[in-house]
Structure formats: C-alpha cells, structure tokens
Symmetry: C2
Subunit: 171 residues, 2 copies
DNA sequence: CGCTCCCAATATGAAAACCATAGGGATCAA
DNA sequence: TTGATCCCTATGGTTTTCATATTGGGAGCG
C-alpha cells in the first residue's frame, strides 16, 4: 500500500487546531468528495463508483480504504455466496452531507450557464415544497436535513449518468 | 506554467451537470480550500498565505492565478511604490463561505479530541450570541451569514498561528 | 470438467503533480 | 553600497496519479 496516500496531510495538517484544515487533509483531493456524493446517492458498489465518479480502480480502492479507516464508511456484504461488499456511510459520513449541500449550492449558483437546470431537485418532506439551494428551506425556513429530503435527478443529468453507465458496461 | 495544474478536471469534470463535481474540479486539491480560509480570515498577502497555509510559493502562485482566472479572487494593489498586491475575494469567492462553515462544523464535530476548544468562535451580531456550528444560529435561528459574524480565535489556535509566523520569519 | 461471465480489486510503467531549495527582481532603509 | 523585505520563478528530485492490463474467487452452463 502506498503509505503517503493513506496519511492525512503529511506536514502538519492533522496537527493544526483548525477544523477546516483537518477536514481538508482527509477529504481534500480530486476524488473523495465525488465518491461521497455517489454514496449519498445510494451507489455503494465498486463498479458503479468507478464509473460515476470517473476514478481508476486503484484510486477508488485506496480512497475507500482510507475513508473506511477514518470511519466515514463501512463495508457491508450484500451477497454472501459470491462474497460481495458495498460501501455504506456511517454517521460520521452522513454528517458530511451539509458540506455537499453547500458545495452544490455554490456550484449551482456560480458554475452553470443559465441554460442548465438544477441537476438535483429536492422536495422538503415536512412542507412538501422545493427547498431551493439552502441551507434552509426557502418555503418553510427549516434547516435542510438529509432525512427530510427526497431527491429527483433532472432529466438531462439522469441521462448523463445512464449514458456513463451504458458506455462503461457495453451490453 | 504547468498546464495541467490550471485545467479543471481533465477528463470531464467540468462538463458534467453535477454542480458538486464541477465545484470539486476547481477547489478539490490539498491547498485551495485552506488558501480560501486564509483569505476569509483577512490574510491576503503572499507571504502570510504561504506561511499559514503551509504551501510552497510555487503552488501558492499557481493556485492564486487559478482562483483569479476562475473569478474567486482578484489582485489589489495595497502599495504603489514598491508595487505590492494582496488577494481579495470577489462575490463569487465570498459566496464560498457556507462551504467553509459546513467544513468547519464537520471538522469540529468529528475531528477533535474532546479536550480541544472550538478553534474559531463567532458572535452572531444580530442577536449577540454564539451561533454554534450552524448553519443557523442556535440562539435566534437565523441563517449564519458571513456579514453577521464576528470571529475570535481561540487562544491556543491564535498561539499556533503566531508561532507559525514567528518560525516562518525568524526575528 | 472446461469454459465464460461477473465483480472487486491489484500490478506495472509512464505521466503528471508536488516538494525543497535556491535564486531573481524590484524597492527601500542605512 | 550593503542589506533587508516582499513576491514570485527556476531547477531537480520525489511522490501521486493515470492508463492499461491482469488476477482471483465464485457462479452458471454445457
């Protein structure tokens, strides 16, 4: 195993008192956040992650091990006979959701041409309305909690994902 | 200039419809987020950034150029005669604050030994109380907006930063 | 058994990113 | 002139990441 990839931040990022720097030392690379996004979307299988996060299997294996070691996710067997595992977020991993929500809001606001629609639309279950980009529901004002949200992919984004999977696994 | 460092996400991260992946393609490396943190703290000078973010000058220069190109910050002359610049966040950069807030909350919650105090304590100006880890003020319930917050560094964290600066610039 | 498919990784060598260190140009103070 | 400060660039070696191919266990099938 490549040791350096597994370490947090080499120099002193894991010793600083700054929580942002600490978090960044764990999560600050090109893949981890996107992998977490997939896990939040319910894709926990190796192949799916590799496809949708656009990661090489090596990087994926390394990241998953790291995240498991850190306690953000755990392996769970979804099939015993051909022993197969999927990756599931732990409470620590689930607690990361607000970061993704904030990143989504920023990306939707600043990184899109006006043409495009919101990639993932939510329904805020308690009030039944679209909560917007958050962090609070624009309709009822409550904080957007993951448990209270139902998500729907925009048609174009769903198509993009389907295509990726189709190209990844040619029939 | 090394071309690859400047590009977003190589393969297709800037073409995906997912705002998280897009944001991650810009910001997803070991330095950028910490640099942004420093800018939010008001440290806009090259040397300070280099010291507090623990980055080599080369990486820092590259990242600053990238962030300027992307529109998150701009160079501003703070001295004309020995022409010196500092780096200041634009609206697009300022809009990134919720992400740092979410990262801070996660880091404070999951990445600290119980011993340590909160590294940065806020006062929520409208209500005068400590808003907690957010995203809404635990006292008055309003969303934590950067403009409404006054920050104080914990003594230990302030000492850590002072020491870094002292070691960086030996008297 | 012999063959193939599926899924989850690993191996390997090449390419890119990154780091440590040193240096350079501009200004100013002594 | 000498030294000091600040911002940034250059060089060369180390580490990480990528692209591609391959392994290995188990199942299904003839």
């Amino acid at each position: 195993m490549d040791s350096c990839t597994m370490e947090a931040g080499a120099s002193g990022a894991d010793q600083t008192l700054c929580p942002v720097a600490r978090a960044q030392a764990l999560v600050g690379d090109r893949f981890t956040v996107v992998i977490l996004r997939e896990l939040f979307m319910g894709n926990g299988r190796f192949e799916q992650l590799q496809c949708q996060a656009d990661v090489t299997p090596q990087m994926l294996a390394t990241r998953l091990k790291k995240l498991e070691t850190l306690g953000l996710l755990e392996r769970r067997a979804y099939s015993t006979r051909p022993l197969r595992h999927e990756y599931v977020l732990t409470p620590m991993g689930l607690a990361f959701h607000p970061v993704l929500l904030a990143l989504r809001a920023w990306g939707e606001t600043w990184l899109k041409s006006g043409e495009e629609k919101v990639a993932v639309r939510y329904v805020h279950n308690p009030c039944g309305a679209d909560p917007g980009l958050g962090p609070t529901c624009q309709n009822c004002g409550e904080v957007m909690r993951r448990d209270d949200l139902t998500s729907t992919l925009d048609e174009a984004y769903a198509a993009e994902r389907d295509k990726r999977w189709a190209d990844f696994k040619p029939r």
